[in-house]
Symmetry: C2
DNA sequence: CTGGACCTTCCAGTACAGGGGAAGGTCAAG
DNA sequence: CTTGACCTTCCCCTGTACTGGAAGGTCCAG
């Protein structure tokens, strides 16, 4: 299988697969005599794993760590648990920050709801912010 | 006032102020005969406005739009209202996405809590993801 | 007059996940 | 034999808000 077909089967682009290879997410592909990348059908699984990792909010660097552990014969379970735990707390913090930002913007918007363009002080640029 | 003092008064760095000027957030500064930027004391207000805009979750490009309207003699109130409204809905969507992501990661984490390293299929890389 | 603090411009890089496009090689069909 | 689809490497670009550093000019105190 060449890179275009693999990309289509895995739901991505050839460009992205070359990028993944350069990032170490995919092992250097076998080559045909003419230099084309040649893949086994199970290469799709690896790309699917990358996509599942992304869907779980992991960065490519984190996904690569998991793959490296697996590729060197280890069992990445514990590392995966740690990553998921860390991502959970990060997301919780991010939600908290966004919620606080949401509330403070809502206050500004409410203040901006009552029109008072004439009382604006140009030195302050905008009385609503 | 030179750029270093202004930066200190406004709670930022000289580097950042030059960057703001290049981005059009600050008007090109007056210059001393030797080429140093020279600022009036009220330049602090403009930088404060930039900071308040950032605190409201606006990008520098959006803050610049507001400043451009004000600088050309307009009253940016309505535009500000639109920006705040748009930011609010964006943040709400972002919170919804993060909450969904949080929940799906929590499911993965719970599955990963029960150790089963031997049943892992190396072809799948990790049964938890 | 010298040292150090400050200033100037310009170039380059950070993190993130690729995308765009050039210049050229390969392969199968018509 | 040519056309068109596919492939290769290469380098630069995207957006965000800066930050670092080099090379050189200015200013003030001692």
């Amino acid at each position: 299988m060449r890179i275009g077909e693999l990309a289509q089967r895995a739901g991505t682009t050839a460009k992205t697969l070359r990028f993944y290879e350069k990032q170490g997410l995919l092992p250097p592909a076998e080559r045909t005599p003419s230099g084309y990348r040649a893949y086994e059908p199970d290469a799709v699984n690896r790309i699917d794993f990358v996509h599942r990792g992304q869907a779980a909010g992991l960065t490519l660097a984190q996904i690569r760590q998991i793959l490296d552990i697996r590729d060197s014969g280890g069992s990445p379970c514990e590392h995966v648990r740690d990553l998921l735990h860390t991502r959970l707390t990060e997301i919780e913090q991010q939600i908290a920050r966004l919620t606080a930002l949401h509330d403070s913007i809502a206050v500004l918007r409410d203040a901006a709801a009552e029109p008072a363009p004439d009382t604006c002080d140009p030195g302050l640029v905008c009385r609503y912010i």
